[in-house]
C-alpha cells in the first residue's frame, strides 16, 4: 500500500507532528513530555486486538475514544493502565480525591489534549483541516484484546499509529493509537507525495 519511500516520509511527517505535540502537551500539562518514536503499522482490522495486546500487555485498561473528521477521518484511542489514571488527577491540578465523575472528566480532558496535539501536529504537516468530536469513554478496566470489537469493522485494512507518552518526573504513561481506514490512508499517501515533491 505504501512504498518504502512513502513509508519513510510518512514516518518522518508523523515524527515532526508528534514532536510538536510533545511540546504543546508539555505546555498544557506543565511538565516535560517524552514521546516514543511513533510506530506505524498497516493492519487488517482482525489483527488489531492482537496488536493491542502485544503492545499493552495483559493488565486491565481504560480507554477513551475520539473521532476526527475533515481532510483526515478516523478514530483515536488513548489507553491508560489503571494505576496511571490516578496520577492524572494530581497532574491536572485536582487536589482533592476524585469522585468517579471527576476522574472520568479528567481522563477525557487529557485524552483530548493528547489527541488534539498529535493530530493537530500531523494535520499541520500535511496541511489538512481536521475537526474533532467530543471524546467518550470506551472501556473501563478491560483486557487489551477486547478493547476494540473488530467484529463489526468491515474494512480491508487500517493504519495503526502507536505513540507512548511518558512524563519526565512522574510515572505516568499512556498510549495513543490512531486508526485510519483504507481510503484515508490514500489521503495520507497523497499528502506524503506532495511532501516528497516539495523537497
Amino acid at each position: 500500500m505504501l512504498s518504502e519511500d512513502q513509508r519513510d516520509a510518512l514516518q518522518e511527517l508523523i515524527n515532526i507532528g508528534m514532536g510538536r505535540a510533545g511540546a504543546s502537551a508539555a505546555a498544557v500539562l506543565g511538565e516535560f513530555v517524552q514521546l516514543s518514536v511513533p510506530r506505524i503499522l498497516i493492519l487488517r482490522p482482525g489483527l488489531i486486538p492482537a496488536a493491542l495486546e502485544r503492545i499493552l500487555g495483559s493488565e486491565p485498561l481504560t480507554a477513551v475514544r475520539q473521532g476526527f473528521h475533515g481532510d483526515l477521518r478516523g478514530e483515536a484511542v488513548v489507553v491508560y493502565g489503571a494505576a496511571h489514571c490516578r496520577e492524572l488527577a494530581d497532574l491536572m491540578g485536582y487536589e482533592d480525591l476524585l469522585e468517579p465523575g471527576a476522574e472520568r472528566e479528567l481522563l477525557l480532558d487529557v485524552s483530548n489534549v493528547l489527541v488534539g496535539a498529535c493530530l493537530g501536529g500531523l494535520a499541520e504537516q500535511i496541511r489538512a483541516e481536521v475537526g474533532f468530536s467530543a471524546p467518550s469513554l470506551m472501556a473501563v478496566d478491560e483486557a487489551a484484546a477486547s478493547l476494540i470489537d473488530v467484529r463489526d469493522v468491515d474494512l480491508p485494512c487500517a493504519l495503526f499509529v502507536e505513540v507512548n507518552f511518558r512524563l519526565e518526573v512522574r510515572s505516568f504513561a499512556c498510549h495513543l493509537i490512531l486508526l485510519l481506514v483504507e481510503e484515508q490512508i490514500l489521503v495520507l499517501r497523497n499528502a506524503v507525495d506532495r511532501f516528497l515533491e516539495a523537497l
Binding site: 498544557v28 491540578g93 472528566e105 488534539g116 496535539a117 493537530g120 467530543a134
Partner: protein, 429 residues
C-alpha cells in the same frame, strides 16, 4: 476572525440558534453572547459583553474553566465537556421543570479556538447544547438497568434457593419412601428372626443334652465286648466325633452372631422409619457424647487418639437416644476411615442460636464425587458385612427431625469432618 457580529448573516444565525454561543478573549472578557445565553442567563448581551466572565457569573467553576480555556489557547485545539461527567457549565433552568426530575439544564459544551489573522489564538468560542431531554431519558434507562440487574440478581438467588430446596425435598423424599419400605421390611423380617433366634436357642440347649447322651454312650461303649465295639465302629466309620463335638458349638455361635447382625440391621431400619421413642427433653449433649464414647470405646481404642475439645453448650431440646445414635455413627465411620492409626477430634460449641458437634478424623477422606452421596440410604464403600450404608442417612433423618443439619468437609487423603448443627430451641415436631 472578529467576534461574530449580530448584524452579519453569520451573526444572525449564531444569535438565533437553539444553542448557547459565547466567546471570551485572553482576559476572559466576554466578546460574544447569543440570544440563547441571554434568555437563559437573564443577562442581556449589552450587560455582559466587554465584562469579565467571572465577574458576571461568580458561580462558574473558575479554576477549572481557566485551565480549559488556556488549553484551547495553547493547543489551538477543541475541548469538550459532557453532561455525564459535568452536568452543566451554567446553571440554567431547563425546559422540563415539572416532569423532568433533574435540577438544572444538562449541557454538552464545545470549546473552539478562534484563530486570529496570524494563526494565534486569543479568543475562545464556546457552544453550549441543551441535552436535558437526552439526559432524562438516559437516567431513566440507567435506573431501569439498575433495577433489571437487581431483579436478575434476586432471581439468581431465588433459583439457587429453589435448587437447594429441591435437593432437600429430594433427599427427604428419598428418606421417607425408603423409610416406609424399611418399616415394612423390618416388620416382615422381625417375625422370622424371632423364631429362628428362639429355635437357635432351643437347638443349643438340645445340642448340650445330646452331647451329654453321646458322652454317656461313648463311656459305656468302652465296656462293650470287642465284637460289639467292632460293629459299632464299622457302622460309624469315617465320622470324627471329636471334630463334630468341637465344631458344632462354633457353627451355632456363628449363626447366632449372624442373626444378631441381622437383628441390628433391622433395628437400624426401624429407627430409620422413625419408630421408637421420639419425645424431646432438655439434654446435655456432652453427656450424650460421653455415654456414646463409652459404648464405642472398644472400636476406637485401637484406631485413634481421641481428642475432646468441648466448648460451652447449654442444654438443648432433643431426643437423646437418637442423637446418641448419630454420634455413634459418626464416631464409627471416623474410626473405619482410619487405615492404621490416626486421630479423632470431637469439637463442640455454639454460634448464635445454634450449637454444633463436630467429629473430625485423619482418615482416608471422601472423594468429591462421593460427597453428595454419603447421605443416600445404602450408599457404602465398605465391604459387605461391615457397612450397611444406612448410618449417615439415619443420622441425616434424625438431625433433620431436630431442625438441624449435617455439614461435611472432606479432603481425600487428609480426613473428614462431619459437623452436626442443632437449634437451641428444638426444631419442628
Amino acid at each position: 476572525m472578529s467576534p461574530l457580529n449580530a448584524d452579519e448573516p453569520g451573526g444572525f444565525v449564531a444569535d438565533h440558534l437553539d444553542v448557547g454561543v459565547f466567546a471570551i478573549d485572553a482576559a476572559f472578557r466576554v466578546t460574544l453572547w447569543n440570544r440563547f445565553m441571554a434568555t437563559h442567563s437573564r443577562q442581556r448581551a449589552e450587560a455582559v459583553i466587554g465584562r469579565n466572565l467571572f465577574e458576571c457569573f461568580p458561580e462558574l467553576p473558575r479554576g477549572w474553566l481557566e485551565r480549559k480555556v488556556r488549553q484551547v489557547q495553547a493547543l489551538r485545539n477543541y475541548a469538550f465537556t459532557s453532561w455525564t461527567q459535568r452536568p452543566y457549565l451554567f446553571r440554567f433552568d431547563h425546559n422540563r421543570p415539572i416532569t423532568g426530575g433533574v435540577d438544572a439544564m444538562r449541557q454538552n459544551c464545545t470549546f473552539m479556538p478562534v484563530r486570529g489573522e496570524d494563526g494565534s489564538v486569543s479568543q475562545v468560542c464556546v457552544t453550549l447544547q441543551d441535552v436535558t431531554d437526552t439526559a432524562i431519558a438516559h437516567q431513566a434507562l440507567a435506573a431501569s438497568l439498575v433495577e433489571l440487574e437487581r431483579e436478575k440478581a434476586e432471581q439468581q438467588r431465588l433459583i439457587g434457593e429453589l435448587e437447594e430446596a429441591h435437593m432437600q425435598v429430594l433427599q427427604s423424599e428419598k428418606l421417607a419412601s425408603i423409610g416406609q419400605l424399611a418399616a415394612g421390611v423390618a416388620h416382615e423380617i422381625n417375625n422370622p428372626i424371632g423364631y429362628v433366634s428362639a429355635n437357635l436357642g432351643s437347638l443349643k440347649r438340645y445340642l448340650d443334652d445330646l452331647m451329654k447322651v453321646l458322652d454317656a454312650h461313648l463311656e459305656l461303649a468302652a465296656e462293650l465286648p470287642t465284637e460289639c465295639r467292632e460293629r459299632v465302629a464299622a457302622r460309624t466309620a469315617g465320622i470324627d466325633v471329636d471334630y463334630l463335638r468341637a465344631d458344632l458349638p462354633q457353627l451355632l455361635g456363628e449363626s447366632c452372631e449372624g442373626l444378631e447382625r441381622v437383628r441390628r440391621i433391622v433395628l437400624d431400619l426401624k429407627d430409620f422409619s422413625r419408630m421408637g421413642e421420639t419425645e424431646k427433653v432438655p439434654a446435655d449433649l456432652h453427656r450424650c457424647l460421653d455415654s456414646t464414647l463409652n459404648v464405642v470405646a472398644n472400636e476406637l481404642r485401637y484406631k485413634a487418639e481421641l481428642e475432646k475439645c468441648y466448648g460451652e453448650l447449654p442444654e438443648i431440646e432433643c431426643v437423646p437416644s437418637q442423637l446418641n445414635q448419630v454420634f455413634m455413627n459418626l464416631l464409627i465411620n471416623a474410626a473405619q476411615a482410619i487405615e492404621e492409626r490416626g486421630r479423632i477430634t470431637i469439637t463442640t460449641g455454639s454460634v448464635g442460636d445454634e450449637v454444633f458437634v463436630s467429629v473430625r478424623d485423619s482418615g482416608c477422606g471422601i472423594p468429591p464425587d462421593e460427597l453428595r452421596r454419603v447421605f443416600d440410604p445404602f450408599f457404602t464403600t465398605k465391604p459387605v458385612g461391615s457397612g450397611t450404608g444406612l448410618g449417615l442417612s439415619i443420622s441425616y433423618g434424625i438431625v433433620e427431625r431436630h431442625g438441624g443439619r449435617i455439614e461435611v468437609d472432606s479432603t481425600p487423603g487428609q480426613g473428614s469432618e462431619f459437623r452436626v448443627w442443632l437449634p437451641l430451641h428444638g426444631g419442628a415436631d
